[in-house]
Amino acid sequence: MNKDINNNEHKEEMTRKEALKKIGNYGKYTALTALGTYLILNPKKAQAASPEPPGGGF
């Protein structure tokens, strides 16, 4: 993750894009390439309030 990005919204968008993954490389077997696309999602590890807005650190 790029540490220079401070904007939460950008971070979240990036996380979602990064969540889209592909299994392996199957060259001409496009059926397998299409089949191998997946999305991985992590719910929050515990109940959470909204994080501090950017620049709002203590």
């Binding site: 392996g24 999305l39 719910p43 959470a48 309030a49 909204s50």
Partner: protein, 376 residues
């Protein structure tokens, strides 16, 4: 023994939940079939053969694919990483700057804050529930910080410790304790807590979702000024038994850039809703929710990803459930109890998912009311 996997099919995709890692994976149905077969210990040769036949591809390619699914998806999500547990058995400290008392319905609780910092974390959201000092409280919370770690005790029992970078989890835990106390349901009777704004008419609830800064709380404030009930903001609990949105009476956080829109509706935001924490150099504004029926809970069939875009025309459309799912899950706490996961997936499958962007408040209010009145 098989690992615990739960499968649900939504909008042409399969969702597989892995108990070991508490992750949700969205895959094609065939891949879900493969994962279930691997979990049932069916021999790879048999699974590969089936895939080779159904896709009409060479056995070797099918076999490689099965192996990749095993390595990338199955194995990674069925082996547990060890996490370091923090044990803390000390008694709470005894010096507190502020003792405050709060009342939610018949429940009275006391919170001892060590300094402005702990007070800033909790009090503004609950100040509208503050009452004068009393001896008749049922819960006593003590909050203090040592070396950037904030520690929470409930009735002299250690609840947890959170580093400053995880402080939103401390606030979440405290809110969850209140939810459990208010509605008399332990944590495993909750399906999840959603980062949303929960609103209702007299029959049902709707959730407004969206990234921070998209205007959820502002939209909620406008809607509650237009006759809808605020059930919860930012922290929306849904129970397991009825899958109802429950009320949580923390105040609505108001950002500075929302003031021009909200001041005509809520003149009190100018002064009374403002909290100054001078030592922390912070000013925060909170608006109390308009609901005082703290037992209120209602079914929810609709979720709306909402966004305020200046000078835009209203754009309202149905979005795919898979798209909604991928936005909802990373922002939510979802119970990791397998029975609750099954209920969550089934509940989610039956939700209507919409996206709404707007700049005209009246049109936004009309659209949300139409959804709640089943006029869409």
């Amino acid at each position: 023994m098989d690992n615990v996997l739960i499968r649900e099919e939504i909008d042409g995709k399969s969702i597989i939940w892995f108990a070991t890692t508490n992750k949700y994976i969205v895959v094609e149905h065939l891949v879900a079939d493969i994962l279930i077969s691997i979990n049932h210990k069916i021999h790879f040769d048999i699974i590969s053969n089936d895939l080779s036949n159904s896709l009409n591809i060479p056995l070797k390619e099918a076999s490689n694919f099965i192996n990749d699914v095993y390595i990338n998806l199955y194995k990674k999500n069925t082996s547990k990483e060890k996490s370091a547990a923090i044990n803390f058995s000390e008694k709470p400290v005894t010096n507190y700057k502020a003792l405050k008392f709060y009342k939610i319905g018949n429940l009275i609780f006391r919170i001892d804050y060590q300094s402005d910092f702990e007070e800033y974390l909790i009090h503004p959201k609950f100040s509208h529930l503050e009452i004068p000092k009393t001896e008749n409280f049922t819960k006593h919370y003590q909050i203090y910080t040592e070396n950037e770690n904030t520690i929470l005790f409930e009735n002299q029992k250690f609840i947890g410790v959170w580093h400053r970078k995880d402080i939103h989890y401390f606030q979440g835990k405290f809110s969850m304790l209140l939810v459990q106390m208010m509605h008399q349901k332990p944590e495993d009777e909750w399906l999840g807590v959603f980062h949303a704004s929960g609103l209702a008419n007299d029959k049902k609830a709707i959730l407004l979702l969206g990234d921070s800064g998209n205007g959820k709380s502002t939209s909620l404030s406008i809607l509650q000024a237009n006759g809808l009930t605020c059930l919860a903001d930012d922290f929306v609990p849904v129970d397991t038994s009825k899958q109802h949105v429950h009320t949580f009476p923390s105040a609505i956080s108001i950002k500075r850039n929302s003031l021009p829109v909200l001041l005509p509706l809520y003149p009190e935001l100018e002064n009374t809703a403002e909290f100054h924490f001078k030592r922390l150099q912070k000013i925060v504004r909170f608006l109390p929710p308009n609901n005082s029926d703290y037992n209120l809970n209602l079914p929810c069939n609709d979720i709306v990803f909402i966004k305020y875009i200046p000078n835009s025309n209203l754009d309202f459309k149905v979005i795919s459930k898979v798209e909604a799912f991928q936005q909802l899950v990373p922002d939510s706490w979802i119970s990791s109890n397998p029975e609750n996961v099954t209920t969550f997936l089934s509940w989610f499958k039956h939700l209507n998912c919409y996206q709404l962007s707007y700049s005209n408040n009246n049109k936004m209010v009309e659209t949300i009311k139409n959804i709640l009145n089943d006029d869409i």
